[in-house]
Assembly symmetry: C2
Homo-oligomer: 160 residues x 2
């Protein structure tokens, strides 16, 4: 990622607090030993008519992928620990509303490389992802740490 | 208003670009000679559960009035040229998406004291308020410069 000035970071923190999201999704992956993957994402969204703004953010940060949705909304998605961790490390001191989400997402990013295929440790990170969702007032989540836990019990990876 | 640091202004500009509004409403005022008033407003909104954020913005800027809506949303409204003009003057250089709206709102603020009861001049400012609404993708406006123009024609304040 590019090095950003304090003013750029303060602006982006304000925008993210107002209209961005920090999420950690639990994604089903059939061919993974633990059957799930944790995916952290920082997203900026804007009407596609003002997509230039998102392209500028992409240039400025050197991060993310642009996507045009069918509903006239465009996104800039910064996905995965390699991109999210350095970005949030710089941004976090300037956040006022989503600082807790940022800290939890950074914790997930930092611990992910060390969990290997340990189901107990993975489950702990899934609980952090639940916490982020709760802070985001998220209501439409289908896979939570409880889902993962039940899968692990059924597969006898952990005991009840 | 309080003097704000560049970092505070950059943050607020980011937040306003993401989730705030700059509007200029044309308000019916029966006892006014011109029957309408132009009211400029800068608003920050947030879920009432995070109202502390808006109270902090109010303290920080020394501007605005807090309001709790019935739908669980709270607002910080900075209303009228006396408050809006100095705020936007400081904020404008940091805006990326709502810079045009800010410039038009400042133009209205600056010219308002000089229009007296001149209907032609007032109508010109109403057109600037139309421009702001258009930039905001606003759809639910009931009183536009066309409404005012028709009122002025009916009252024989201007000719067609």
């Amino acid at each position: 990622m590019n090095t950003l000035t304090n003013l750029e970071l303060a602006y982006m923190a304000g925008f993210l607090d107002g209209d961005g999201t920090i999420i950690a999704q639990i994604v089903r992956k059939k061919d993974y030993v633990l059957k799930y993957q944790l995916r952290v994402t920082v997203s900026f969204i804007q009407s596609s008519s003002r997509k230039h703004f998102l392209l500028q953010l992409k240039d400025e940060t050197g991060l993310g992928t642009n996507r045009d949705r069918k509903d006239g909304i465009s996104e800039l998605n910064i996905v995965g620990r390699e991109q999210v961790l350095p970005f949030l490390k710089q941004l976090e001191p300037y956040l006022r509303l989503k600082q807790k989400q940022a800290k939890l997402a950074m914790q997930i990013c930092e611990q992910l490389p060390f969990i290997g295929n340990n189901p107990v440790k993975f489950l702990e990170l899934c609980k952090l992802s639940d916490e982020i969702a709760q802070l985001n007032d998220s209501k439409k989540r289908t896979i939570t740490s409880a889902t993962v836990r039940q899968t692990f019990i059924d597969a006898k990876l952990i005991s009840e």
